[in-house]
């Protein structure tokens, strides 16, 4: 195939990174990991969980579940089943032990069911405090929400 007809790859892949890393010494690798560590909170969470640092490796993942499954609707926060599942997926990649995963999955069910139950127990005054946009979004969220509690 001629150079002109070769289709350029749109996205770099792990193999490209691996080839670059082959030229790094230990110091270079440490510097790269440090840069990644400081660049994003998710990277710090990943590394802390992977190496078992801190008193509770599950805490940041539980905080994410709490945020996305039991939002503060009075602050206009929304639910997101996808983002909650992403937190569990991130833990699976960082550590992936069965006990930690089970704890997060049970916590997911507790928070989702707790949120639905909490709303169900509110009196009308509570819903009157929500804007109509917020109420509409909430009822849409709950519709999308109840089935994934039971089924994956």
């Amino acid at each position: 195939m001629s150079e002109a007809k070769r289709k350029p790859r749109s996205q770099p892949a792990w193999t490209d990174i691996k080839a670059k890393l082959a030229g790094f010494d230990r110091r270079g690798l440490m510097g790269l990991i440090q840069d990644l560590y400081t660049a994003h909170k998710e990277n710090r969470t990943f590394l802390h969980a992977r190496f078992g640092l801190g008193d509770d490796a599950l805490r940041p993942y539980k905080e994410a579940l709490d945020r996305w499954l039991w939002p503060d609707v009075l602050r206009n926060q929304d639910t997101s089943v996808a983002k909650a599942k992403q937190a569990i997926s991130s833990y699976r990649k960082a550590v992936g032990d069965a006990l930690g995963l089970a704890e997060l999955m049970v916590f997911y069910c507790e928070r989702a069911a707790g949120f639905c139950n909490d709303l169900g127990n509110q009196d009308e005054g509570y819903f009157d405090t929500l804007s109509s946009a917020c109420s509409n979004r909430l009822s849409r969220s709950l519709g999308n929400y109840l089935r994934p509690i039971a089924m994956f």
Partner: protein
């Protein structure tokens, strides 16, 4: 997620398993308030996976 949790819990040793199953049982009870047969589904799933 309830079913996924039961599958992972099934791989754990008995003491851990029992504690987590008890927590899911409380979720199951609460979920009967929601309609959409969510609680009924959980009844079946818990019976199937925990052997009760």
């Amino acid at each position: 997620m309830f079913e996924q949790a039961l599958k992972v819990i099934g791989k754990l040793p008995a003491p851990d398993r029992d504690v987590l199953i008890a927590r899911l049982d409380r979720v199951r009870v609460i979920s009967h308030n929601f309609g959409y047969a969510v609680g009924d589904d959980m009844d079946s799933l818990l019976a199937r996976h925990s052997g009760t």
